[in-house]
C-alpha cells in the first residue's frame, strides 16, 4: 500500500505523519503538494493536522478548494481510502466527504492535552485491530473540535455504525466530564457511509514513537497496515 500525505500551506503535522508511516510502519509514503492534481499512485491518502490557509474564514474551508482536493474527492468516491486528522478532519467535512462540522470548542479554549478514546466499531480498516473495550490515550490539540451534525445525520451515524471513537475517561466511561470540547455525544471520530473515509480530531501520530512515552496511537496505523499484510 502506498500512502500519500497531503501538504497545504499551514499544514504542520505532515512530517510527523510521514515519519510514522515511513519509519515506524515501514510503508511507502510520499508527500503530495496541494497545488498538484497527481496522487502519484497512492492508495491511502492522509490529510494531516495543522492550520491550512491559516484557518481563515473557517478551519478547512479554503483548503477544500485546493487543486488536489478534486483528486482526493474523486479517489474517495471511487472507494479509495482517505483519512483526516485534526485539521484534516475539518477539511474533509468542509469537502463534504464526511458529514457534520467542527465548531469552536464550547469551553472557549484551545485544548492541548492527552485524552482517552473508546473505539465504537472495529468494522473499518482504520479500527479493525483496536480493542473496543480499551481506552486509548491520545493527544488532542485544537480550538475547533466540537463535532456537530443535525439530528438526522447523528441518527444515521449511529444507525450505520459510523462513529469510530468517543471521548471517554481513563476507565473507558463515556460521559460529559470526559468531553474536552462539547462534541455531540462525545464524538471524536467518524467514517463516511462507505467506510473508506475516516476523520478524527485526536492525533494518533503523536503517540506512536517509543521516545514519546506513549504508543497507544500505533495500533491505529497497524490496523490500516494489518489488512494489507493479511
Amino acid at each position: 500500500m502506498k500512502f500519500g500525505v497531503i501538504v497545504f500551506p499551514g499544514s504542520n503535522c505532515d512530517d510527523d505523519m510521514v515519519y510514522v508511516l515511513g519509519k515506524l510502519m515501514q510503508q511507502d509514503v510520499v508527500k503530495l503538494w496541494h497545488k498538484d492534481h497527481d496522487l502519484q499512485g497512492c492508495d491511502f491518502l492522509v490529510v494531516p493536522g495543522g492550520f491550512a490557509y491559516g484557518d481563515y474564514l473557517r478551519a478547512g474551508a479554503i483548503a477544500r478548494f485546493s487543486p488536489i482536493m478534486e483528486s482526493v474527492i474523486a479517489h474517495a468516491q471511487n472507494g479509495g481510502n482517505v483519512m483526516g486528522i485534526c485539521n484534516g478532519f475539518q477539511i474533509l467535512t468542509e469537502a463534504g466527504l464526511l458529514p457534520g462540522a467542527l465548531l469552536q470548542n464550547n469551553n472557549q479554549k484551545y485544548v492541548c492535552k492527552n485524552i482517552y478514546l473508546k473505539p465504537q466499531t472495529t468494522d473499518t480498516l482504520f479500527t479493525r485491530q483496536l480493542n473496543a473495550e480499551q481506552a486509548y490515550k491520545i493527544p488532542i490539540a485544537h480550538g475547533e473540535g466540537r463535532y456537530h451534525a443535525s439530528p438526522e445525520i447523528l441518527k444515521q451515524l449511529n444507525d450505520n455504525n459510523q462513529v469510530l471513537f468517543r471521548y471517554c475517561d481513563q476507565d473507558g466511561n463515556i460521559n460529559e466530564t470526559a468531553n474536552p470540547n462539547g462534541s455531540l455525544e462525545n464524538i471524536a471520530g467518524i467514517s463516511n457511509e462507505g467506510r473508506n473515509v475516516f476523520g478524527m480530531m485526536p492525533h494518533p501520530e503523536r503517540a506512536s514513537d517509543n521516545l514519546l512515552g506513549n504508543t497507544d496511537g500505533r495500533k491505529f496505523f497497524e490496523s490500516v497496515i494489518g489488512q494489507v499484510l493479511v
Binding site: L57, R58, A61, I62, F65, E94, G100, A101, L103, Q104, N105, N106, N107, Q108, H148, A149, S150, G182
Partner: protein
C-alpha cells in the same frame, strides 16, 4: 457593471456561540449589563463585476453557499449595491 455585495454570516440560532459568550462576559466587565445575548458573525464586503443585478446575485449566492458560509452551522443574508 460593478456591484458591491455586503454579506452577513451568522451561526445558526440553535448553535452555541462561544465567541458571543466570551464577548458578553467582557461587556459585563466593562460595566454594560443586562445584555441578554450576543452572537458573533462575519461581515464580508465583496466587490464584483457582472452583466446585471441578477448575475451579481447568482455569483453572491454561489459564493455564500459553497465557500463563505457552512450551511450546516451558519446562515447568510446579503444586499447588493450598484457601484457608481
Amino acid at each position: 457593471m460593478k456591484f458591491q455585495a455586503e454579506i452577513d454570516i451568522m451561526p445558526r440560532a440553535e448553535i452555541l456561540d462561544p465567541q458571543g459568550k466570551a464577548v458578553k462576559l467582557g461587556l459585563g466587565n466593562l460595566g454594560i449589563n443586562n445584555v441578554n445575548d450576543i452572537r458573533v458573525g462575519k461581515h464580508i464586503v465583496m466587490n464584483l463585476e457582472a452583466e446585471n443585478l441578477e448575475e451579481a446575485k447568482q455569483k453572491t449566492e454561489t459564493a455564500c453557499k459553497k465557500l463563505l458560509a457552512n450551511m450546516i452551522v451558519e446562515e447568510y443574508t446579503y444586499k447588493i449595491n450598484l457601484e457608481i
